[in-house]
Point group: C4
Chain length 279, copies 4
Amino acid sequence: MDIQPHDTEPRWKRKAYSVIFESDTPAGRAFDIALLVAIVLSVLAVMLESVHSIDAQYGYYLRIIEWGFTTLFALEYIARLVVVRRPLTYALSLLGIIDFLAIVPTLATLVLSGSRYLLVIRTLRLLRVFRIFKLGQFVGEGEFIVTALKASRFKILVFLTAVFTLIIVVGTLMYVVEGGQNGFTSIPKSVYWAVVTVTTVGYGDISPVTVLGQALASVLMIMGYAIIAVPTGIVSAQMAAPRPTAAPAPLYKQVICHVCQAGDHRPDAEYCWRCGEKL
Amino acid sequence: MDIQPHDTEPRWKRKAYSVIFESDTPAGRAFDIALLVAIVLSVLAVMLESVHSIDAQYGYYLRIIEWGFTTLFALEYIARLVVVRRPLTYALSLLGIIDFLAIVPTLATLVLSGSRYLLVIRTLRLLRVFRIFKLGQFVGEGEFIVTALKASRFKILVFLTAVFTLIIVVGTLMYVVEGGQNGFTSIPKSVYWAVVTVTTVGYGDISPVTVLGQALASVLMIMGYAIIAVPTGIVSAQMAAPRPTAAPAPLYKQVICHVCQAGDHRPDAEYCWRCGEKL
Amino acid sequence: MDIQPHDTEPRWKRKAYSVIFESDTPAGRAFDIALLVAIVLSVLAVMLESVHSIDAQYGYYLRIIEWGFTTLFALEYIARLVVVRRPLTYALSLLGIIDFLAIVPTLATLVLSGSRYLLVIRTLRLLRVFRIFKLGQFVGEGEFIVTALKASRFKILVFLTAVFTLIIVVGTLMYVVEGGQNGFTSIPKSVYWAVVTVTTVGYGDISPVTVLGQALASVLMIMGYAIIAVPTGIVSAQMAAPRPTAAPAPLYKQVICHVCQAGDHRPDAEYCWRCGEKL
Amino acid sequence: MDIQPHDTEPRWKRKAYSVIFESDTPAGRAFDIALLVAIVLSVLAVMLESVHSIDAQYGYYLRIIEWGFTTLFALEYIARLVVVRRPLTYALSLLGIIDFLAIVPTLATLVLSGSRYLLVIRTLRLLRVFRIFKLGQFVGEGEFIVTALKASRFKILVFLTAVFTLIIVVGTLMYVVEGGQNGFTSIPKSVYWAVVTVTTVGYGDISPVTVLGQALASVLMIMGYAIIAVPTGIVSAQMAAPRPTAAPAPLYKQVICHVCQAGDHRPDAEYCWRCGEKL
């Protein structure tokens, strides 16, 4: 994202950019942390507002806080647009869209009445929490996890395909075995039950009642138990693998014999190993 | 499975074989992916059909789609029989049987009335999804997982025997402790409860009520908690183990120059690297 | 357990001992497998007998089977007593006691009426399944797991102490927070709930209702989630650790200079490295 | 914590300090174990007291036991204050505060009526159990776990941030999807449900009922299933990592005999091992 102001731009703009977008100066770090706190508090306000008893009593204050944060985020969004070199590039980037969406829901309540569905968008602000990982020692650690997961992605995909197939086959089987009774009223419901079981969540809202169903469920559970070892093994092995180190010194001299064209000489060789010619 | 057409067979047959059975040509890959999409869609149709409200409204269209896919799979099955060298060998192979079963259930509804049990067979089509692993980068990854699991199979068997013994002993114990009450109405039911507990699924459809029962259940849970470390450890250790590589070629020739006493020559060196003397 | 017959004992006795107690001859292996099958079938009979509907219909036959197995196990027990050198040593060993207990419950039904509690003892027969691990390739694998667990036992003990402390402190806290309501009627019940939660079993027979209780429970769950990584990590690391290999060839010559008493010479040294004397 | 008595202090004080605070003498170990047993028994008494039926019958004796233990712990606390060099430093240390809190609750019941909240403090006595880890072989093991967790703390923090964001976003989404019905009555409740689900606890006190909700929940469960691999992988990799060892001394002297050109002499060799010449 090439939005950093050029060196030819005014000093205040470059300064503001480093504070708002970067975090390697004390001011930039302070800005990021303040923003983080504001995000967490604003999400907390949204959560509290959804509790009827709290909303009934403190709804008025929560709405004031809500508007305060929205103003704050709007100012921040405008500041970001001002300091970047290419505002449109920023506005259309993922972080830019999230930053924009953070101010939309509250404004929307002015126009729309049923803004309940906008609640979700408000919590998307939380995604900006990941900005914190630009700070200090987190960079390497976050990268380490992401790298390990990326390196394992094909293995995990193969594994998930196998699990999905198992889940759908067993889910259908249970639908037949339990005869569409006891909560297994359709194949999707039975598949939902299979997911709940294989992942060992086990709500118990649907559970087998027939003897055959319980036997089949037991087999599925034992399999789910063994299966969980696979993704864990994949990620563990990936993380325990030695990180690729700097390339070792070349084993051979980067020179070719001018007589016989032989290569791969010892690094300290003075004569060609094939024809004995001085290198 | 030696079903590949001989080089003496007509060109169109060999070409068709490579498209239908293999996936290392663009056409073969396209065929595999198209088949995969058809399988997933057909299973989706089966699943939707089992939902009463959807079946009541769209049942007619779903049945049309169902017949469409059945025709498609029938044509594909016939095509497979035609292009292979030994149709019977293919027809009796595991994949051949699954391919055949994919068209049976819909046809069977013409004859039989209660075809509910055939639903399961239809979802077995999903097993053909594993054909996708013949594609590109999945081969190695799938093999890696299967190899690790195979190498661990005796360890996992020993582990499962221990778990089964624990489950049956504790299940019987709970039957006695809870006195055949609170859902523990027979030993098989108690064993079912023990499986649900050890695997940490915990539906809660059966749960201990007496103090002694709850104490015993707590011990079982803590044990199940520790036990889950074992299969994970086995698979992790197996996957983290360095893959056995071919023994490396000796790095140096076991000879010393008779003039300058230099050693460590290339394995195929004919002249000394230090003084150029014939070795 | 020094119960093996001396070489001076009659041949038939030594032969019988090797068949009954060992499994490195074909006859011994066949005996072990037959015994295994008998044990599993007898436990199955006990389990089926506990199901009311099956007992009502087939109880008569199950009781006959029961007596058949008991006679079989009694004969086996007598045979074991006869062939060993020190019958008392065997009878008082763990396996000897289990073998004896395998025949007690059925006999006890002749005398006692309420033999329900003896059911548990019957399933203890299952512990003899572990004899199978003396067979073939299982020996090494079983030992591998046991060794890894033994090597980790102190780490696991430290870990379990921490978990128990957490469970009891949080259990008490929940008893106070939920005010003895909602199933948290006593500290032991709350502790039982904490075990159910930390192990991620989650029956749901007791679950927090107050806001504070649910918040506290959430913290406990996240902790339990992180905590499960610890025993798995311990066992994985233990299993992934390179097994101690055979001692490498000695680095030094096992000779001491007769002049200066220096040791640790190169394996091919002909002269002392300290004083230059011929070795 | 520099509270150990100086060598100039009376002998009995130094002796008492080593018994009470240390555990490398037989007396010190015996004291620690006795204390451990007293702590466990006292917590057990607190737990039993909270069971109504037991309290009704044995409450009188439990209260006597309670006072007995309180007296014991009070004496121990006074003894600790007497033998240390700086009583205030000890009293304000974490262990000192826990030791003090162990005696407060029982005394408080003399003054206060509703001492229910003091129950929690009583069980904090259990934290003193960790003193046991000063004993023998536990020191290293406990340190090993703590070191591995400490080394992984940033990775785990990054991981937990991601999990929390996921939980809050999905929780809010479910509140909207389930329309504030079926137990998802507020965002905090929905977030609580998301925690219960991601950690695979799955009480089932709240569970999705709408089709969309169950689909979303299935996705969350599969994610939670894959996610649990991450902390386990982190800790496993950390524990499996080779502990940094001191660099090994060079195996051979970097010198070649000027007579016979032999190399690979011992690092401290003065004479050639092949020809006996002074190096």
